[in-house]
Amino acid sequence: MTATPLDKPVPLSRPLLTHNAVFWIGFGVVMAILIAAPLVLSEFWRRFLTEVLIWGLLAMSSDLLIGYTGMISFGHSAFFGLGMYGAAGALIAFSPNLWLAILFGLAGAAGAALFVAYFSTRLRDIYFAITTLIFSQIFYVIIFTWTPVTGGENGLIFTRPHLSIPLLYDARFTSTTMHWFVLAVVTASYLFLRRLTQSPFGMVLQSIRENEARTRAIGYAVKRYKIVSVLLSGLFAGLAGVLYAIQNQFAAPDFLYFITSGDTVIFNVMGGVGTLVGPIVGAGFFQLMRELLSRLFGDQFPYLIPLGVVFIVMIIFLPQGLLGFARRWLNR
């Protein structure tokens, strides 16, 4: 039997570049800019850009929940903070080894994430948001009051480990290599999450977002998928915490407080949920505005008032966020 030519419609005119090519060209350009940036920028802006990337990673991790699984987490500070404390604990108690710090940071975040995932995923929508908030507050109280181990209010201070690749490379971090290291981790995380959201697993998550009851009716174990997605999201948030701890050489209870979770949600909404890169853009936008406002009006200026107004206006008039226009394209 011969295949009929009508099985595959022949496009009338081929586009010059496929979607894939355009994506990777754009990706390459952005990467080139970000790699070259620390060579041109001053020390202050170099650190600024590195921190934007770290906050971006935190926001991106929560985008997996908000944008893809359709659950708003108000408790990402717990994962971020436990990542910080895990790294700090490993660096103080054991050896100052970078990879050990990452391992322990991830373990800390995973512990918190398992706990939150197990209990919070019993609830949906608003209830999920509130319980994640309350759970993050539990971890805050524990860290804040368990002074002998966590240093209580003062937090933990440690010396930064070397940037080491076993048998190959071992040197002190400079702000430039720190930037490249963070960039590498964030990029790898982005590529992993992008692959994940396009995988069958990611499709199930998105179908939970669109219609949970129907997804369950088809036969997917919705609860298990939700738990895994909270767990993954917590792991990446913990990774961001580890990076932040190494960048600033301390772990403080403030970062477990509600404010961090709130910022994470703001980055997401400003940048555009469900795009993965949007939250990074949102973090950059937020931090730039903040820097701009405090330069214009002085350090004492309550920059969160105008930014809060911008945030509310965006929800009402631009609910898709800054990168919302590209959402479909980025997820193809």
Binding site: R122, V265, G308, I312
Partner: protein, 298 residues
Amino acid sequence: MDTISHFFHAIPFDLIVIQTVNGIVTGLILALVASGLTLIFGILDVVNFAHGELFMLGAYVGVLVVASTGSFWLGLLASSIIVAIFGAVLQIVTLRPLIGRDPLNTILVTFGLSLILQNYALWQFGPIERKIPEPIQAHFQLFYLQYPWYRILIAALSAAIIGGFWLYLKHGKFGVWIRATSQDRIMAQAMGIPVPWVFTGVFAMGSAMAAASGVLFGPLGGVSHTMGLDWALKAFIVVVVGGMGNLGGSIAAAIFISLLEAYAAIWLDPSQAVIVSFVVLILTLLFRPTGLFVATPK
């Protein structure tokens, strides 16, 4: 047997009585905050993240009015009215455009509002705690303590406000509108009830309740820009444990949790006693996710 009798001996009876009174007092204030929150949720489908900030704002307005007029009761009244109007304006400007959208949007908007209000308070009033002077100085003897009558008065007043509100819901015209809207929004609109204004009114009432509890709490603890979050968190726990949108349930849960925290504070540090309410929340989520004080859904 010896260890058991020793255990019972170790329970300080006087402390338990004192903590029971304390727990009921804070429980009734908490019930006032939580019933505003649960009312707004039940009718508007809005989880009001800014509820704690309305509580704080009420306390600050109370501080200002009490400082300028010297009358606590005037402060209580003025604060409730001013914050109610403010709440109505907030609802009209920020929440009304979101009617019909995903309810998660309203969480985000009220969260933005709470950020703005909290930072405004910090900017305007500074980080130093303010105090509202107690309107009644009298004390009575409770074991070895001079217990202030004011605390008893707060409890009675909170209960009276909740009771009055409940009667209003039952018999007042607007109250009937509110109940009709919560039962069936579309049908209520078809019957000629101005649903958007019911929403605004409910938000204003919830704000007024938050403000009133803020002023009542003012003399007990300090008034600061961060007080909102603590109370909002507790109110959220209460509302989840009591069953979302269930007024009676949240009042019962408020008293229940406050009592537990008060008892825990006998043996634990107050900052750790908070964990008790978290544990109650976790247990509730595990075994009765719809709330402790509601009938099991069939």
